[in-house]
């Protein structure tokens, strides 16, 4: 536990975390704003709307589910939890203080989960400020504990925690800060986007971390709307897959750190 506290202290005694928090909150207010703004709006007369209307439960699921798009930020933050140690060689001091490296890795993973959840909570609080008035003003009924909303909110939190671990895994593997951040951006913005958007590749896409996260936050919009999420795994399978990925990234971080010479 003291090592998890030390890892959190490392993060919170430098400035990066609140810059990242600010960025993610700004970024997600834009994406939430789009969902609220275009809710119920059809691209042309008679066509189904892009996003479900504000007074439907589907709208609430979709809006809360936008929290997952903060994953890139927590992944980068997770990567920097490892790469700054190599960049500034503080890894030497870290391992001198705790020569049992598996404990350091475990502490980083534990701290990563907490940081992911913390960012998730901050995002959800921001979302509450947008979603609750939007629903109530449009005369809809607020669903926080039913209509699949708890699954979406919980799934969003779990996904953010997982992507922080993904960042830690990639950071441990690469050690170079720029390389790790670029790889994460390419993975999340290009590869995962493509395999989850192109129908031919969706059978692969549903097995990616993003596919698993989407399965958990699947708003279940009527078929016929522009977003067809029918290819995704069921929510429970998405949850299991996320857990599997978490273990995989933890293993990746351990294997790359435990035997390496620190020169």
């Amino acid at each position: 536990m003291k090592l998890v506290r030390a890892e959190l202290l490392k993060l919170f005694t430098t400035r990066l975390w609140w810059i990242m928090l600010l960025v993610v909150l700004l970024y997600l207010s834009i994406s939430l704003g789009a969902v609220i703004g275009f809710a119920g709006v059809s691209p042309e007369e008679g066509a189904p709307p892009v996003f479900p209307a504000r007074d439907t439960p589907a709208f609430q699921r979709l809006a809360w589910g936008q929290a997952v798009t903060g994953s890139i930020i927590v992944a980068i933050l997770g990567a920097t939890m490892v790469t700054t140690e190599y960049r500034y060689q503080t890894i030497t001091t870290t391992l001198l203080t705790t020569p049992r490296r598996e404990r350091v890795v475990a502490a980083k993973l534990g701290a990563g989960v907490l940081v992911g959840l913390l960012f998730g909570v901050a995002i959800l609080l921001l979302f509450a400020l947008g979603i609750i008035p939007a629903v109530l003003l449009s005369g809809g009924e607020l669903h926080l504990l039913d209509e699949g909303v708890p699954r979406v909110i919980g799934g969003g939190l779990a996904a953010l925690a997982l992507y922080t671990l993904l960042g830690i895994g990639v950071g441990s593997l690469m050690r170079n800060q720029i390389a790790a951040i670029v790889s994460l951006a390419v993975w999340i913005y290009v590869i995962e986007q493509l395999v989850n958007a192109i129908p031919l590749l969706q059978p692969i896409g549903r097995w990616t971390p993003q596919g698993a996260a989407s399965a958990l936050t699947n708003p279940g919009i009527d078929p016929g709307s522009m977003i067809d999420l029918g290819y995704l795994l069921p929510a429970w399978a998405g949850a299991l897959l996320l857990l599997g990925y978490a273990l995989l990234f933890g293993l990746l971080a351990s294997l790359t750190t435990l035997r390496r010479d620190i020169t």
Binding site: K2, T13, R15, L96, T97, P99, R100, D261
Partner: protein
């Protein structure tokens, strides 16, 4: 038991034998200088000792155990490896508090250690603005946190100004001679540690070249000559040679005399009625020994 015990240590990086069959020990209450030119294998030895680098063979033990097996390593060993081991955006006090937290030490130790190295007034400043000398002091503060009995310092004098080096010498002597700690300090500049260390271990190209006490190593050098300067050096040189000295004139009235002690030179001057303007023994500089031992040999 030796505080530090290195036995037949070897480590290869690719094709380079960084450390090749190195053995030495460091006793409590003494300062050992670990000397060698840049790239000789000093840092690799220390990193093997601290469990950061995995040795190919041999053993490197602190208090009879591997560093990785120490339960609370910071309370047994204080190490300073590079002066750049800090996140530039973190303050000095927070840097130490992170380590205290991870090591389970009271956070108050951070301020105490900063006071001990004279950084108390910049505790809240970010390390990015620190000079090299301040970073070295902060590194030392890091090593002091757990009040260990063994100190391992890699080139701690790098970047220190002359007053900083003076301070470091006094501090290391205090740790070893007053507090009974074992201190192992590496350097590629002999002059930095020459006045501080009790024992010397010299390494070059990964291999141990020489080890012993400072006195032993100095005695191994050439017999130190006497510098004698006289107003009329010609006849005086002849008189010195007649007295059994080997004289080597060096211009400007300077004579280097071997084989005579200062008293004999004085008496010879009296008898030869020579006016002597300078008489002192040249130190057999360990630096010279160091260079001889470490320079490339065919």
């Amino acid at each position: 038991m030796s505080a530090i015990e290195i036995t037949n240590l070897a480590k290869t990086f690719g094709a380079v034998k960084a450390v090749d069959d190195v053995s030495f020990t460091v006793q409590p209450g003494t300062i050992t200088g670990y000397l060698g030119p840049n790239g000789a294998g000093k840092t690799t030895t220390l990193r093997c000792l601290l469990g950061l680098v995995r040795a190919d063979s041999g053993a490197a033990l602190v208090g009879g155990r591997r560093y990785a097996d120490l339960k609370d390593p910071l309370t047994e060993v204080g190490a300073v490896l590079e002066a750049t081991n800090f996140h530039p955006g973190r303050s000095a006090a927070n840097h130490l508090k992170v380590i205290c937290t991870a090591a389970g030490l009271p956070l108050a130790r951070a301020q105490e250690a900063l006071e001990q190295v004279g950084l108390a007034d910049v505790a809240g400043k970010r390390v990015g603005g620190f000079s090299m000398g301040m970073r070295q002091r902060l590194g030392l503060a890091t090593a002091l946190l757990g009040r260990p009995k063994v100190y391992i310092l890699d080139e701690p004098a790098n970047g220190l100004d002359p007053s900083g080096i003076q301070w470091l010498r006094g501090f290391l002597r205090f740790l070893a001679h007053e507090q009974g700690a074992a201190v192992l300090v590496s350097s590629h500049v002999l002059a930095e540690v020459e006045q501080t260390v009790d024992n010397v271990v010299i390494i070059a190209r990964g291999r141990l070249v020489r080890q012993g006490s400072l006195a032993e190593l100095t005695a191994e050098g050439d017999e130190a000559p006497l510098r004698v300067r006289a107003l009329d050096p010609g006849p005086f040189a002849a008189a010195l040679e007649a007295a059994g000295g080997r004289v080597e004139p060096d211009g400007d009235g300077l004579l280097r005399v071997r084989g005579l002690d200062a008293e004999t030179v004085g008496r010879t001057a009296l008898e030869a009625r020579a006016v002597v303007t300078e008489l002192l023994r040249e130190r057999s500089d360990l630096q010279k020994v160091f260079l001889e031992l470490t320079e490339e040999r065919p």
